[in-house]
Amino acid sequence: MGVSLNFFLGLSAILFSVGLVGVLLRRSPLTILLSLEIMLNSVNLTLVAFSREVGGSDGQVFALIVMGIAAAEVVVGLGLVVAMTRREMVLDTDELRTLNG
């Protein structure tokens, strides 16, 4: 056991926070998607780290599923970004608020 579990968890927490801050502060949809990916991958890191600690492969399988879902999510998200660009809409989430009550 080279690196202890805590290092992984710490890295994961840092990555997660970076992603969260990105989602909360950035206004460009593209950057928000990027930040989301960072958050997802930090969770993946936790899963794999725990999996290595426990010795089973469940966590790795789960991480793979997360990657699959993330890929699907990015497809939809990027598709939206492309569609918005084509319609020459402003790429700013604060301006895109037609759904307000």
Binding site: L24, L96, R97, L99, N100
Partner: protein, 638 residues
């Protein structure tokens, strides 16, 4: 062998998928031929599988195969199980064989319809559902097939969806059949509670351990399903209306295959029904009353397809009598021959309607035998077979049922015998009323106008429509020879193993006697029809002058069954809902305090729109804070 059965089942669904996805890329005719080809291959597979089954020793002819477990919960599991035995083989051959012919016929019939591809896809869907119904080896899968045939029947009756009457008829058929579906579902629940299994083998093995009451209730519930699907009393009113659909549908679904599913169900569950003799007697009674009633109503109908529809109801009632008497082979034999001659009559009627540009009223026909000689000849074979005239197929099969009634020799048996013979007389009259009104007597002005033009341009019909009729005529004429009393007994010995308790088998003498009486009765009916209708339609005079007017009116209104249902279910529901709407709902919600309540709700709703500000980052922040709060709470508490 089982592989072939799987292929038979899978082919039509492949057809549906291909037609649904690529239908618009195919030319309309190509789609039709594709669907027909699929049916031909399916028929080939079914035929080879049947031959292979026949080559096995008798004890090994019942094949059950589990493909995979479909549902599983605790110790209950339902598999995609397939049951292939003699009865299934017969049904398989009928469904795919007659199905193929009707697919080909549809190519010609739907030639000018822009949506013929959708029609073909539905047809394939129907065949798949029907195959699933007869191939399943447990009640759940049977119910799935049962529901799916109901669905495809609904889709096909309402195929011309801009025709309000067709939509209404489709809904009616679906609702009536839903009653039957519920019956079977509850029956399945009961059997599961009693026996803990839903597979056929489990039910048949456990049937003997059921008390008569338990078995009777389960059988009654299954019977509800059979009655609804087979359009028997009192759930029969949907069948005549279903004639609003295209004619090939009437031939395939509402004559040859789907409506006989009830007969199949009873024959299939014979070990269970054997424990419930009272229910079997009830089936016979329902059958006798139904066959007489439908025969009487058919006497006065004027729509060519409705006459044949009531005739179908009447013939299925014969099959019910057969299976109710535990003479399962004769019921299924009649199902088999009926598939030929009734499909033939429907397809022939379709040709007549086609030639007359959509006219369906037999009073507007007449004298067509010179213009449509081939159709006349073929339909004559069908009509003779339907009237039970020896040696046409219907004669053998109907007489097999009646001879079984004779050999049972109980009060019920005698009721069935006498009722069946009376029904045979009615059959002769209404069938040949149709034949004479359509093909003999003087041509009506309408037909005189239309027919020369139509025959000049199309002949009697496209060859895709004529050939299926020819082939069915051969079947209608000769299918009975499989079972000549005392000479051949292909059908009886083939189906004998499906019932572990044996079947009623009349002696050759009883059969010949019945055949003789049946033929004489049938010919008498034809003679009466000839007297009344062959030259002129003289029946209306008789009715107008005689006291029969009330009866005639009652028969024309189909003995008021539809009115009964309208006044007992439809109208009260309408009254109740309009009362609730007008006198309860509206006043209550205009009442001041309740109105205040409504305003209060609206106020709260408006107040909370503030947080729905549309800024995604805000949502994300609230979300993150929420999760943070939950984690904090867990940490503090833990």
């Amino acid at each position: 062998m089982t592989e072939l059965v799987w292929i038979t089942l899978a082919l039509p669904i492949v057809g549906v998928v291909v037609l649904a996805l690529l239908g618009m890329k195919l030319p309309a005719r190509g789609a039709g031929w594709f669907a027909s080809l699929i049916m031909l291959v399916a028929f080939g597979c079914a035929a080879i599988a049947t031959i292979l089954l026949a080559s096995r020793p008798e004890e090994e002819r019942q094949v059950v195969q589990v493909a995979w477990t479909w549902l599983s919960a605790g110790n209950f599991s339902v598999g995609l199980d397939l049951w292939f035995d003699e009865l299934t083989a017969v049904m398989l051959l009928i469904i795919t064989g007659v199905g193929f012919l009707i697919h080909v016929y549809s190519i010609g019939y739907m030639k000018d319809d822009p949506q013929s591809r959708r029609f073909m896809a539905y047809l394939n869907l129907f065949v798949f559902s029907m195959l699933l119904l007869v191939l399943s080896a447990n009640l759940v899968l049977l119910l799935a097939g049962w529901g799916l045939v109901g669905l495809s029947s609904y889709l096909l009756i309402g195929f011309w969806h801009n025709k309000p009457k067709a939509i209404k008829a489709a809904k009616k058929a679906f609702i009536m059949n839903a009653i039957g579906d519920v019956g079977i579902a509850i029956g399945a629940f009961l059997l599961f509670v009693d026996l803990g299994t839903l597979t056929y083998s489990g039910i048949f093995a456990g049937a003997a351990s059921l008390s008569e009451t338990q078995a009777s209730i389960a059988c009654l519930l299954l019977l509800v399903g059979a009655l609804a699907k087979s359009a028997q009393l009192p759930l029969h009113t949907w069948l005549p209306d279903a004639m609003e659909g295209p004619t090939p549908i009437s031939a395939l679904i509402h004559a040859a295959t789907m409506v006989t599913a009830g007969v199949y169900l009873i024959a299939r569950f014979n070990p269970l029904f054997h424990q419930a003799p009272k229910v079997l007697d009830l089936i016979v009674i329902i059958g006798v009353v139904g066959l007489l009633m439908a025969g009487l109503i058919a006497l006065v109908q004027t729509d060519i397809k409705r006459i044949i529809a009531f005739s179908t109801m009447s013939q299925i009632a014969y099959m019910f009598v057969g299976v109710g008497l535990m003479s399962y082979w004769s019921g299924v034999f009649h199902l088999f021959t009926h598939a030929f001659f009734k499909a033939l009559l429907f397809l022939g009627a379709g040709l007549v309607i086609h030639a007359l540009h959509g006219e369906q009223d037999i009073r507007n026909m007449g004298g067509l035998r010179k213009q449509l000689p081939k159709v006349y000849f073929c339909m004559m074979i069908g009509a003779l077979a339907l009237s039970g005239i020896f040696p046409f197929s219907g004669g053998f099969s109907k007489d097999a049922i009646l001879a079984s009634a004779l050999s049972v020799d109980t009060p019920i048996g005698w009721i069935a015998y006498i009722g069946g013979l009376a029904g045979a007389l009615l059959t002769g009259i209404y069938t040949f009323r149709l034949m004479f009104m359509v093909f003999h007597r003087r041509m009506s002005p309408y037909a005189e106008n239309v027919i020369p033009h139509s025959v000049k341009h199309h002949g009697e019909g496209p060859s895709t429509m004529l050939w299926p009729v020819y082939i069915l005529s051969i079947g209608a004429a000769f299918a009975g020879l499989l079972q000549i009393p005392g000479v051949t007994h292909v059908f009886l010995s083939w189906l004998e193993p499906i019932s572990p308790f044996g079947m009623v088998e009349p002696s050759a003498g009883q059969e010949w006697l019945t055949t003789l009486i049946g033929t004489v009765v049938g010919l008498t009916g034809i003679a009466i029809a000839y007297h009344l209708y062959a030259r002129e339609n003289t029946a209306p005079e008789l009715i107008r002058n005689g006291n029969a007017r009330l009866i005639h009116r009652a028969l024309e209104r189909r003995l008021y069954w539809d009115d009964l249902y309208e006044w007992t279910f439809e109208r009260p529901l309408q009254w109740a809902s309009s009362f609730l709407n007008r006198d309860v709902d509206s006043p209550a919600f205009r009442w001041a305090p309740l109105d205040g309540l409504g305003q209060l709700t609206a106020f709260f709703g408006r107040s909370f729109t503030v947080i729905e500000n549309g800024i995604v980052r805000m949502y994300a922040l609230v979300f993150a804070l929420g999760i943070g709060a939950v984690i904090l709470f867990l940490l503090v508490r833990g």
